[in-house]
């Protein structure tokens, strides 16, 4: 079978600045990643990775990013991700870094991993709660999380939107 194979890189944007979350958008992130590839791997690397490069999914609340690239050049992309040091949008720079969580061959495997990862992250957040109030808050939001009729039909669900404990 002959087809173009892609690799989907799941990353997490981590930033100390709380305003950074609002400015996470796909175009700014795409530009930042391409800029990092150009710096680290030059014109050749930029051209290789740009063939099928897009930001497939972006969640500003949790900072989850899904990038797609060709299978032949995913190593160039992954090695350039640690060199993304800031996101720029509306003439403002916010320092941040990207954590690579998973590299998968399809969006479905990445989604399965993300569901699993979010489950463990929620548990860890619960354990790290210092405040009894926060603990109650998180438990309440977890227990009240449910699928409504419209959401279950769209078929794209994961446990999300934990309360921010910054």
């Amino acid at each position: 079978m002959v087809r173009f194979k892609n690799r989907y890189v799941l990353c997490e944007v981590v930033s100390e600045d709380p305003r950074c979350r609002q400015c996470i958008e796909d175009r700014a992130l795409g530009l930042a990643v391409r800029d990092a590839i150009a710096r680290v791997h030059g014109d050749y690397g930029l051209a290789c990775c740009s063939i099928s490069f897009t930001v497939k999914y972006l969640n500003a609340y949790t900072g989850t990013v899904l990038l797609r690239c060709r299978k032949d050049s995913y190593r160039l992309l992954c090695s350039a991700l640690p060199f993304v040091r800031y996101l720029e949008s509306r003439a403002q720079r916010y320092p941040c870094f990207l954590n690579t969580l998973h590299v998968g061959g399809t969006i479905r495997t990445c989604q399965k991993f993300l569901i699993q990862y979010n489950r463990t992250q929620l548990l860890r957040l619960l354990q790290n709660c210092t405040n009894e109030e926060e603990r109650q808050c998180i438990q309440k939001s977890l227990l009240s999380c449910s699928l409504t009729e419209e959401q279950s039909q769209s078929g794209d669900e994961e446990e999300d939107d934990d309360t921010e404990t910054d």
Binding site: V40, G42, G45, S79
Partner: protein, 159 residues
């Protein structure tokens, strides 16, 4: 003139280093780079095409002649393709046109010891215009191991 297909095979795993004899051509004249500027030029070419990772490739300028602008470069085998492609695509030096010509490409697959008898062989692989591509190799007579092989480009007089 025969239009045969041209195939060049470079076995990269067989040797640790590859040696390139190159010549820098500056058709517009001007000040010639000294040895340090030449190395800077090579590293700049690598940085443009292959980024910081390419610029960090261990390339050594073993000899350099400022008068003829020719040099012998040494690079590890895994970096040969990056170096050669970067040299090919370099177009400008200090806003003047320039070009790198690779005259020879040699590698040494096996060590040679004192007392061994060596046979040298050269074969013209391709002759186009006044430039001949010659493949050279040196083999030890008893064991048959190849101690040197490479490709050399020479100009031949029109005759």
């Amino acid at each position: 003139m025969a239009a045969a297909a041209f195939e060049r095979r470079v076995l990269r795993r067989a040797a640790e280093h590859h040696y390139l004899r190159v010549r820098l051509e500056l058709p517009d004249g001007g000040a010639r780079p000294n040895a340090a500027q030449f190395k800077q030029l090579v590293v700049t070419a690598l940085r443009e095409l292959h980024g910081e990772v390419g610029a960090a490739l261990p390339v050594d300028v073993l000899t350099y002649e400022e008068k003829t602008l020719s040099a012998i470069l040494r690079v590890i085998s895994s970096g040969l393709v990056k170096l050669w492609s970067a040299l090919t695509l370099l177009g400008f030096y200090q806003n003047r046109r320039c070009a790198f010509r690779v005259l020879q490409e040699i590698r040494f697959p096996a060590p040679l010891y004192v007392g061994e008898e060596v046979t040298a062989a050269a074969e013209v692989k391709r002759l186009k215009g006044s430039v001949a591509h010659i493949s050279v190799s040196c083999q030890v007579r008893e064991s048959g191991k190849t101690v040197m092989e490479g490709m050399v480009k020479v100009m031949v007089p029109e005759s």
